[in-house]
Amino acid sequence: MKGTRGRFGNIKRFWKTVCLFCLLALVCAGCGGSEKAEGLPSVRIGVSLYRGDDTFINNIRGELEKRAKAYEQETGVKVHLDIQDAKGSQNTQNNQVERFISLGCDVVCINMVDRTNVSIIIDKAMAAGVPVVFFNRQPVEEDMNRWDQLYYIGVDPKESAVLQGSIVADLYEENPEQVDRNGDGVVSYVLLEGESSHQDSVIRTEWSVQTLKDSGVPVEKLTGGIANWERSQASALMEQWLKEYPGRIELVISNNDDMALGAIDAIERAGVSGISLVGIDGTVPGNEAVEQGTLLGTVASDKEEYAGVMMDIAIARARGEELPEDLVLEEGKYYWVSQEIVMKKEK
């Protein structure tokens, strides 16, 4: 009688062989895994600008790049700054944010095209655990409160407007004729407004004029128009107005420097003089215009501070560190950059 041994004779041996093979396979797989490049610590920041040719935004961008380089040189930590232009399309910006996240950005800085349409970006960022630093165009409070890793850096529009108003008000106080050129006791002004959907336009417009009124400057609005922060649009509008109100315009109040410069372009083209202009931003060309005397004054925000705070928050968050102690954020999210009046220095 033959002994009945198991199916494979020695079952144990069969299983041993199988296990050995499995082990081999796993080891091979493990070895074949990718080797992470052992590199220096580095920080990757994605920045999306709402429109690349906005001078103020451009200046901020320049400062960001400078600050990044300085940080690199100081600490040896490589900062990979990826700056993209959304060209005024929220869609494009959303795609850019997606790309940032997929490329492994540690932090993104967004200058929203449409501040009411933030949820897509916040969703993506939250899902990927990527902190967001909004700047210059402020999302609504409800959106900002959705996550504790959302920040906003901006310039307090009311403060800007009040300072802007005070430029004219102070000058009027000192020397009314400077402002009221035709001496009719009224300062006739035209108003150049930014985008209608931008929170700053409304506030700046309102408070600028209010400040003048509060300071007792007799103002009369001739007309106003929306130039969407753009120099060329302001230029076109101003040209029209110069034709419409020849000799009557004494003051141009502009929500930002670019539009003020556009108005200056139109004035120069028309060969007119005697109009005071005030802007807000303190952009490089704006400051130059102040130096040259074509722009009465502007309210400059500290660009270095602006970019500096942005970078500080971004880099700290990217490296998982706490924010610098001296950095105080309102409600833990908001930072208002300091600003000051820029007027031509009397020699």
Binding site: K2, F8, R13, V18, C28, A29, L40, S42, K78, L103
Partner: protein, 324 residues
């Protein structure tokens, strides 16, 4: 009766099955090649990317198509050869699998790399002929460009005209070659050439001033680099005084402000290049390099001399204003 041989066959077969299963249905053996992302770094010779906008657009297009991650590195200070070298090495250390460089000083770069090679593929943008140390090159013949521009200027102006060569005081290989070519054809045509450096404050302004005062003279301005060209255009736009004396402004450059200046008439004639294609090709060659499939290539792109009308021609329109 199951022989020993049979048992072995069963065991081996079973093991092969397990392997097959692992290979086909799990990620243990064959990893679905997630499209690999190739990190590439580009180091240019300037401290801002103003002149490289179209180039970057071309690179971005290639990056999207070929799944590359492009780092665009500008120097802390323009035209610093050592800094550029440092940047190259730093990028390589940070994991760049291929490098693109627009060299500040080719000679210095060559020497440095021969002493200590980079070990990653290096693509030259606007180099001077295929060098040993580079894996590929995408260039415009700058010297020829200079010659051609000189020819155009010679064609438009009498040899009696003074020619002011404006430049911003930074030495780069590209500028050097451009100047060489320019001087060649201009001297041949018998022009008098005066170099003016914008390095000193108001260098250009003073030069233009000197045309009006004390004695009135005409001149033709040729800018050796885009920055100087732009500055000249701005000067002319600002102040009407110089305009009658400046008979023509020429130079090279492809950034939008330069093109606008050409459109507005402050620049008379301009040498332009297809930067978008250059950027695209550089990025593609770099990805090939990262993949390991790069063969030594030298791509020569043409340059064009255009005047204002050309901006409206579809051909130039598409080249100079790339759609993204």
């Amino acid at each position: 009766m199951i022989t020993k041989r049979e048992k072995i066959i069963w065991a081996v077969y079973g093991a092969a099955l397990v392997l097959l299963f692992l290979a086909s249905s799990t990620d243990l053996i064959i990893k679905e090649r997630e499209n690999p992302v190739y990190p590439i770094s580009v180091v240019i010779e300037e401290d801002s990317d103003d002149q490289y906008v179209n180039f970057r657009k071309g690179m971005d297009q290639a990056a999207m198509e070929l799944n590359a991650d492009v780092s665009f590195i500008t120097l802390y200070e323009s035209s610093q050869a050592e800094q550029q070298l440092e940047m190259l090495r730093r990028e390589k250390q940070d994991g760049a699998q291929a490098l693109v460089v627009a060299p500040v000083d080719e000679g210095a770069l060559e020497t440095a790399l021969e002493a200590e090679p980079l070990e990653v593929p290096l693509i030259l943008s606007n180099g001077d002929g295929l060098a040993e140390y580079a894996s590929a090159e995408v260039s415009v013949d700058i010297r020829e460009m200079g010659r051609a521009l000189g020819g155009e200027v010679a064609g438009r102006h009498g040899s009696g005209e003074r020619i002011l060569l404006f430049e911003n005081g930074e030495e780069t290989s590209v500028k050097g070659r451009f100047e060489e070519g320019l001087r060649e054809s201009l001297s041949q045509a018998g022009f008098e050439l005066v170099s003016v450096s914008g390095d000193r404050e108001n260098g250009f302004r003073n030069a233009l001033e000197s045309l009006c005062y004390p004695a009135e003279q005409d001149a033709v301005v040729i800018a050796l680099d885009p920055d100087s060209l732009l500055e000249t255009a701005e000067l002319l736009e600002e102040s009407a005084r110089y305009r009658p004396y400046v008979k023509g402004v020429y130079g090279r450059g492809t950034s939008i402000p330069v093109l606008n200046a050409l459109d507005e008439g402050w620049i008379t004639g301009l040498c332009v290049t297809d930067d978008f294609s250059a950027g695209y090709l550089c990025a593609r060659l770099a990805v090939d390099g990262a993949r390991g499939t790069l063969k030594k290539t030298e791509i020569s792109l043409p340059f064009y001399y255009i005047e204002r009308e050309a901006l409206r021609e579809p051909r130039y329109e598409k080249m100079l204003y790339p759609i993204e």
